[in-house]
Symmetry: C2
Subunit: 326 residues, 2 copies
């Protein structure tokens, strides 16, 4: 599989869990390069009895820092070095669970946009029911109708590459089905999308998520970010409510049944867990960039690396280039 | 309890289910007045062996119609007559499961805004976990920071009246905790909310819904509408996934357990059902206005009427007037 740079210093559980995730991904065939403080990473690798190539990076961008300023000032930060490796062609992509803003800034400045892409966008896969690609999930809080049309092309490629759907359908996230619904943004985007080289099916609503109405939902980064965070929270909330309801029942028969079905429900919970999906993609830059949750564990990092390598192997970037150009 | 006008001609299952819901609400003490075609409503009442006061309305606004035009042209539509009864002080509030746009237009024009309210807003209660009032859920797709500050006051009154919380906390729906996050709208609203006569706790995110972080979430009507529809869909999707996972298990022990826990999970599902909450409120007009789902059944209508009467009895409108003035 493709070679992927891993920002070993980014994330709440860095560097330990990040390095362990890197080791796991290597075992499933990903060519992982650790990026970060060489002495620290060597120590973590030694403790784990493993060996991985390391590219030294002397600095780290922390969660609280202003991303734009940090990217300008810390030229040798791990996330910047990752982006540089992508730009130089040393690796096909990068994974970071550090500050999302810093990853976006590093990728936009260090790697650069695909020709014709106005704004890179964050794409997330909503995993419940029929999986759905949602973008923008937070890179651009305000966008133009033209940006939404480009998101539709990038999201379609993502659905092809990751969901295996040859001709994915695209919906415009809105407050009603009729083309006249929504803000000026949605009204103008509806007309542009109808002419875009995608399989546009019209407006979709929040309730259509996961229902197979469209494979790709396009929206601005404010709405998309609120949406993705809310559905994660609700999925967890409902799961918890189910467990609590079962556990609190005083019917003996129900109590006996709970211990039998609990493992099943716990397995189901994993499906709703964003960890299992490894992270969100930054689409529109010249490399496969996966942004993990800050709280990424070893499992999440390994998944993110596999997803990044998979995208690189299947030509995610080249296919977006062709789609935007076409 | 208070006297409430019921638009008996609005909704997918009108007039039959609507009238039956009216009869049910009467039995729990609501003083219901049916509004609609007298001959039709008399026939439905006769068939049900019940009797309710009827105010005749010769016309109906259908779902497909342009709300603003319909409200101008159909002066004798059932929803307009409901609003007129509120304005004339004949009833304390109204319930309609017809076109949301028509209900909003009828209320705004026919009943009128509370002094000092720039824009009436739709408030919904998110029922999972710790109940949360979310507004605006769709009345105003684009708003000013000042509107958001007014929504905070109105939403706080709603939490006092319906959730029984004396000093409700208010959060601004945003993409991160820091005051500097969000669009220009959120940045300006954050400053205004800090000075508003509410218990503002700062920014909240989608994942905080139902988690007890804030009792009231304020946002623009586009974001709020997408959010509310999405969380309803996710709650249903997760419920379905739990049932499917249990039903499809081939472990005999699990199969035996499923029949025992199924009734419990089905009861839980009802909690996530928007029907149980009767509908959303249009806050900021001089009457208690509850807008039901188009697909409202008898149960949903009876709940909506109880909620409307409850709000009227507890002085919802007077308390908003006092809050906005203060």
């Amino acid at each position: 599989m493709a070679r992927i740079a891993l920002d070993a210093m980014g994330g709440d559980y860095a560097p330990h869990q990040i390095v362990l995730g890197g080791i796991d991904a290597t075992e499933s065939g990903v060519d992982v390069v650790l990026v970060g403080d060489e002495a620290i990473l060597t120590a973590v690798l030694d403790a784990a009895g493993a060996s991985l190539p390391i590219v030294h990076a002397a600095e780290v961008i922390n969660m609280g820092e202003d991303p734009a300023a940090a990217v300008r000032e810390k030229k040798d930060a791990s996330v910047i070095v990752c982006a540089r490796l992508v730009a130089d062609g040393e690796v096909a992509g990068m994974v970071s669970a550090g500050s999302t803003g810093a990853s976006m800034a590093a990728a936009a400045i260090g790697i650069g946009r695909i020709r014709g892409v106005g704004r890179p966008a964050i794409a997330a896969v909503y995993p419940i029911g029929i999986p759905t690609v949602v973008l923008d999930a937070g890179a651009n809080l305000e966008v133009s109708p033209e940006h939404l049309a480009q998101f539709a092309v990038m999201g379609s490629v993502m659905a092809q590459v990751y969901l295996g759907i040859e001709h994915p359908t695209v919906g415009l996230l809105n407050i009603g089905e009729e083309p006249s619904k929504g803000r000026d943004l949605e009204k103008a985007a509806h007309a542009l999308l109808a002419d875009a080289p995608v399989r546009f099916i019209g407006n979709v609503e929040g309730r259509d998520l996961g229902a197979g109405v469209a494979d790709v939902f396009v929206t601005d980064g404010f709405t998309g970010n609120v949406l993705i965070k809310a559905v994660e929270g609700v999925a967890r909330g409902v799961g918890t409510a189910v467990l609590e309801a079962l556990a609190s029942d005083d019917d003996e028969q129900v109590q006996a049944a709970v211990s039998a079905v609990l493992p099943k429900i716990m397995r189901l919970r994993e499906r709703f867990d964003p960890e299992a999906y490894g992270g969100a993609h930054l689409l529109g830059v010249k490399g496969t960039v996966v942004i993990g949750h800050g709280a990424s564990s070893r499992i999440a990092i390994a998944n993110a690396l596999r997803v990044a390598a998979d995208g690189a192997d299947r030509g995610l970037v080249a296919r977006i280039e062709a789609g935007i150009g076409g």
